[in-house]
Symmetry: C2
Subunit: 553 residues, 2 copies
């Protein structure tokens, strides 16, 4: 503290002085030509300072480091330190992460891994703890987290509060376990897609303070006006910016931020992260100063992070130098006063989890009988599905002529269950795809045009201890996700290329773009209408297992 | 919680439903015609609810309850429960109080009294603990509060953090005791009049987060832009609204609030409280919606009070119904869903503190010798003083012809000290005034046109165990402040009348308006230039005691 005080008072030279800065201040959304001084990673002050080192930024625009208000790092398919390598060059210096996926696979051990592995990177990864593991008792994964389990993380460095409470019925019914979890932390993120009116009032009254699931302006306006902090999401599949940008005005910008929620490595590598949200928002008509405020100070206000979000005395010296020109392009990122945009790749420890998955044989995949069958219908670009009906003879499926493929879910936690169903919409003329990324239990899921290809794809995923595979006549294309079957520890550039290659392989087989995204949600029994789990088909609307063939009345 | 949930869900009728409301929402500064429901003192929701009781407000404007961001209740001369009676009808439902004065007199016992006595009222009195007792070692009062003393209040209901840190030199020098106090609480209010540039950077870096001492727009802009939350003060004597209103815009309204700091009972009774700040701000050109936001949601954001500030689900049902017409006039105040604008007066316990003050006699007041004398010069409307010089013969003062009165400070904590000096500017042609409100040590201070009148006035104050007195040929006019010599437990209306009467009495003797205000600051040895304490004259600029007569070179 003595050093910092002496630095701030100008009695001692600062570590580094950045001069020639056109600095954005989100506190009043102003730009100022100034200098600022950094000592021990903290801003000691703006104005004329002496420093042991001086960096002349020659008039470049500087903004505080960008912040993602809600992200599942696992969805990038990268381990935390590698996710950091992907987003730091984009200007992101802090993310609020919910380790929901790793916790579904590995419970508290998974959270511990994230806390530890994430701390290897200069990126500040702060945590909202996963509140709903498993997402539903209808689809158990590798762990169950009780309020007591979560309580053990209270006070841990980097742990901020309770993550997205998606058990809306549990909240509204006053469920004891849900209430115990809500009571653990003063900071609680909500997750209430489409909730409105009295149920929304009851949900907010129960202590949920934010939402990142708004898909319409009216929904976001209602939630904001009822007190929720709104995180405008722009992920790989869930894209809400276009609809929600009109929510933001000078009067509301302090109550909104950006979130990516789920963004794959390829999108991070090509389009970017929060920088991409800012560019898109501006293209959609948002005032760019307000967009930068949303990406910097607003999430700090939401999460009580008084130590960052502005280049001001005592705050962490996280900032981005922008490229010339009007567009928001990050040229260089500085974290705690050090360059952080070009961190070398370093192999990391991965979390090995038991991968105990029975590989189905042709007999297991056999569908006996015939009649009117329930078929999961993909909805392009959405994670919802439709329940379709087709007349089917079990011996004639997969039926690529009608685009009716088999879809298979295999328990990977040693229970040995395999569920078999039918899916329409993938378009595969041959081959199969399989993945161990399968929300939220992350069993192995596969879909394909033949039993052999399905088995080959699943075998590939299991042999790798997790991954995404395409099986075809040419053999198998694989992205190994050796970290808990969810993430790769390879360099993000390589993972992005592998992902792209997988996608191209699928398309070459006649499949749709984004097939793995669709596949990864087919097992999630909380999103309508029809899902497949290792226990078989599940009717979401009725909240019960259903048969493949419609029962005759 | 079951009741609240059932109420919010509309499954059970709410306690009260307020219909026909034109409701202000500070979250987006909008007005909406709606209804809202209250159960167990909390808003359960807006919209169409059923209630056991329905109140039709017939279109009246409703705003959330008003909040004072920083106030010394003692300065009203009212005990907390009576202060509450004065401000509740004005729409104030929460105040952030710093019990600095009572703590200077009675230490932790004084704070305990405030916590206890304040809880008798429906007004929510939340506390920032006094960080600087005594204000300076040069002027010891009745207590010294160490970091350990303050720590004993951590976690107490209603205690939010550390109050105005006025020991700026201590902060900037890294004083150990100051640092220990700063480390006690995450919430810390600043107090840094005129501080700027590098010293301001160092002060903010040390952890001070707000300021209510800005007197110029440039000062407020610098502090806001460096991260401080700005409380715009409009008290009885310190009035900064006119200069600071231009600071507030839609982009900054979330970083500013109102504060009254020191407001006497008479101003509360005549002009009002935060409602008065809103009216004045609007008259000065501030958008009225922004003014209401500053008076409601903004201080909640500053102090992390997520439980109020908006009429929204789960928040405390504190609100004001406004009079018809464009002006901001509170017609009725509701606290936790109950009418709170018309609370009956109830006699309360007062804090009796030892009042051990030696009453000076003519000998004590005698000024021996002659020469060029240092005279405290009042500055009209300011609490600063000038050091003036007059040729004086001790036998000829007080000298009403030149408006040179005697000023006397008597220790009231049993030390027996009496300091005697001269003052210019009161204008009294006869008589004397005395008071036990004398910042910050609150000894007894008096000024007068004759020794006899001074002694009579002091005797009156001491006999009452504290108060404000005017002694004249007609006898003595007294406002008794029996609670620690600072406050009255009488009804605020009566105190306001007594104050007004004292002022008129002073004017009838030829004195200036606001004489007691000036008197109450003459002993404060941290404000330039010349002061009187029980130890004698004190030169503030040189920070040392000085003689009455200028030493011959």
């Amino acid at each position: 503290m003595e050093r910092l005080l002496a630095s701030a008072l100008g009695e001692e030279p600062a570590d580094t002085v950045f001069t020639g800065v056109t600095l954005f201040n989100p506190l009043d959304c102003s730009w100022e030509e100034t200098s600022f001084a950094v000592t021990d990673g903290l801003v000691v002050g703006t104005g004329d300072y002496r420093g042991r080192e001086t960096r002349d930024l020659r008039g470049a625009r500087v903004v505080p480091g960008l912040i993602d208000g809600h992200v599942h790092i696992e969805s990038s398919l990268l381990v935390p330190s590698e996710f950091a390598r992907a987003v730091l060059p984009r200007g992101t210096t802090t993310v609020i992460a919910d380790p929901h996926e790793i916790a579904n696979v590995a419970g508290t051990r998974g959270i511990e891994y994230f806390l530890e592995e994430g701390s290897r990177s200069p990126l500040d990864i702060l945590f909202m703890l996963p509140s709903c593991v498993p997402a539903t008792p209808d689809d158990p994964g590798g762990a169950t987290l009780s309020a007591t389990d979560l309580a053990s993380f209270a006070g841990r460095r980097g742990v901020l509060g309770l993550g997205e409470m998606m058990n809306v019925p549990g909240v509204l019914s006053g469920d004891r376990e849900v209430r115990d979890k809500l009571a653990l932390f003063p900071l609680r993120d909500g997750h209430a897609p489409g909730l409105s009116g009295m149920p929304l009032n009851a949900y907010i009254l129960s202590g949920l303070q934010s939402d990142h699931e708004c898909t319409s302006l009216a929904e976001a306006e209602e939630k904001l006006r009822k007190g929720m902090f709104i995180m405008i999401r722009e992920g790989s599949t869930e894209r809400n910016l276009r609809d929600l940008v009109p929510l933001v005005s000078p009067r509301t910008a302090g109550r909104c931020c950006f979130a990516t929620d789920d963004r794959h490595a390829d999108l991070l590598a090509t389009d970017g992260h929060i920088d991409d949200c800012i560019r898109k928002a501006v293209t959609l008509g948002l005032d760019s100063d307000l967009a930068i405020r949303m990406a910097t100070l607003s999430p700090c206000e939401r999460f009580g992070l008084g130590d960052r979000g502005v280049i001001a005395p005592g705050r962490i010296a996280d900032f981005c130098v922008l490229e010339k020109g009007a567009e928001f392009r990050v040229k260089a990122t500085w974290k705690r006063g050090k360059p952080a945009g070009n961190i070398p790749y370093r192999k990391t420890e991965v979390l090995r989890t038991p991968f105990s998955c029975r590989i189905p044989d042709a007999g297991t995949l056999r569908i006996g009988g015939s009649g009117e069958a329930r078929v999961i219908g993909l909805v392009p670009g959405q994670i919802t599905t439709r329940e379709m009906r087709f007349p089917v003879d079990g011996r004639d499926v997969p039926d690529t002529g009608r685009d009716i493929l088999k879809v298979v879910a295999c328990d990977r936690y040693g229970r040995g269950n395999v569920g078999v169903g039918l899916v329409h919409g993938f378009g595969l003329g041959a081959g199969a795809i399989a993945s161990s990324v399968s929300h939220d239990a992350h069993n192995v899921i596969a879909a394909g045009a033949s039993n052999d290809a399905i088995i080959m794809a699943i075998r590939g995923v299991v042999a790798a201890g997790g991954g995404m595979a395409v099986a075809s006549g040419k053999g198998i294309t694989l992205l190994t996700l050796e970290c808990a079957g969810l993430m790769s520890s390879e360099p993000f550039e390589k993972v992005a290329r592998s992902l792209a290659a997988l996608g191209e392989e699928v398309v070459s087989l006649g499949g749709i773009p984004g097939a793995f995204m669709h596949l990864s949600f087919l097992a999630l029994p909380v999103i309508p209408e029809l899902r497949i789990t290792p226990r078989g088909l599940f009717g979401v609307t009725a909240r019960r297992p259903v048969g493949l063939f419609v029962e005759k009345p």
